[in-house]
Amino acid sequence: DDKGGDAGNKETDKVAYITAFGAVGRDAFAWVAKEKGFFAEVGIEVDIKEGAGNQPNLTALKAGQVQFAALDFTGAVIQAGKGEFTDWRAIAAVHQQTLISVMTTKDTNITTPKDLAGKTMATGAGSVTELLFPAYAQLAGLDPKSVKIQGVQTTALNGLMASRQVDALGTFLLSRGALATASRKEVVILPYSDYLRDLFGNAIITTPKLIADDPDLVQRFTSAALKGLQYSIDNPEEAATILNKVKPTYTVAAGKGEIDAMAPYVKPAGGAPVGVMDEQRVARTIAVLQGSGLIPSGLTPANVVDFNFVKKP
């Protein structure tokens, strides 16, 4: 039926994609790819939905409401490792390093992980930040038990720090700007990636079924999305402006700040292309999680990542 049309005018594929969490800087690339026509170039029409964290995103993927999703890779691996939900594969990394960090303000005089001993730290209850803290602390030479962890809803974190109800937060380092605004103090960041170097941050995932049925679509989507990601870190101001159009309450400055902050974590070491995932690192990630007792043994990198879509040079 498309004989009459010209050869390049293949029918567009309609897919739905869900962002990791809402519409903030770290997720701007999806809108950038759409706005700049990267998806259209490869014949894909994307419906971007705003995510609400790992669990809802995995649920949405499983229920077939979206075909692609961004989420925190480490958290998803923990779920897969527990055998709770394995029906997904990562196809590209958004952040090469985890963005999880300990964050505090300068007046606490906490400058190294060891300073946390005897202090209270708030984290998202049950979040990856909380789960990985013991592993992080041990590597940093701190007794994890010496820190009092207070689990709360993530929206409450900045307030608790600003009012000094706690001495530190376990949170994504991208919320640095928000904490600075909230506390009006200088923010100190101790990234987990200083010690846990192999953990990825957000990743783009899809279902094994789609990979099997239409690898070409997955490939095209991955390429276009990563092109958007590259473009975003190259042109943070423009990316933030595009995002601001979607969500006017999210200021350009905030968006640019976040994109700038995450840029170092997006670029792979050694000039590898954006989005690449290294099998060795994934294996070490799994090992770290197993080592800290978060998941049983048995999970292999191939269970969670399909390495075919971002080619190493």
Binding site: I18, E50, A52, K62, A63, G177, T251
Partner: protein, 236 residues
């Protein structure tokens, strides 16, 4: 009220991150007035649809339960139990069932305000004075006739109590839906401003919600005045 708020922020020298003073909030509002009003409209629409559906379905269910004490006895404990389940906890499930977009929000609004309407309608329906009930029976009125001509009109003042309580719950329901899937509406404004610690903007959204809540409440109260003028007349 606003002056009280202002005074409080001034007296306690409140940190604008926690409680911004009114001028900050006004400033936040003037930053994006049309956008905020558009989002308010989105939330309002979800609220109204959810509220409307809840009203209709709660009244229908109340009729069913009023029709048969057996059905009521059998099902009401379940309804009361289901109602105590925090919808917030189920929200991700709803997202899967009814999908992203306005449906989830409407569903949340509906679920949150359903029960008060149901309970107050049931209470109203079972409070028919015995002399009116007897009068209706003496005319051999059918169940339905008694219902429409005697029990329901008599229940209206109490039904409106439920409807008034439900306005706020419908708004809250829509917002919970929007927080879970923050694509549009004032709920998404709150989510994104909390993320950037833009408290004045969050308060601007909350203020709009408060205005919306008061407006809806008084709209229903005005409707009550029009529909049940007699209720005031026979009470002191």
């Amino acid at each position: 009220m606003i002056s009280l708020w202002w005074a409080a922020t001034w007296v306690f020298d409140a940190d604008p991150f926690f409680v911004p003073a009114p001028p900050d909030v006004v400033e936040a509002f003037t930053r994006l007035p049309t956008y905020l009003l558009e989002q308010a409209q989105v939330t309002l629409l979800e609220t109204l649809v959810g509220y409307g559906l809840a009203t209709v379905s709660a009244i229908l269910l109340a009729i069913l339960l009023a029709a048969s004490r057996t059905i009521e006895r059998m099902t009401f404990p379940t309804i009361a139990g289901i109602n105590a389940i925090p919808k917030v906890a189920l929200a991700p499930l709803f997202l899967v069932w009814v999908g992203f977009g306005p449906e989830t929000k409407v569903l949340m609004a509906l679920l949150l305000c359903f029960f008060p309407i149901l309970v107050s309608t049931m209470a109203g329906l079972s409070s028919t004075p015995s002399d009116l009930g007897e009068m209706s029976r003496s005319l051999s009125a059918s169940w339905w006739q008694t219902f429409v001509k005697v029990r329901l009109p008599w229940a209206l003042p109490q039904l409106f109590v439920g409807l008034k309580v439900a306005t706020a719950l419908a708004i809250i329901g829509a917002i919970i839906g929007e927080v879970i899937n923050p694509d549009k509406g004032l709920g998404s404004v709150i989510v994104s401003s909390v993320q950037t610690a833009d408290t004045p903007m969050a308060f601007a959204a909350l203020t709009l919600l408060a205005i919306m809540g008061a407006a809806l409440f008084y709209a229903v109260a005005a409707l009550e005045r029009v529909l049940v003028p007699w209720a005031r007349a026979i009470s002191s």
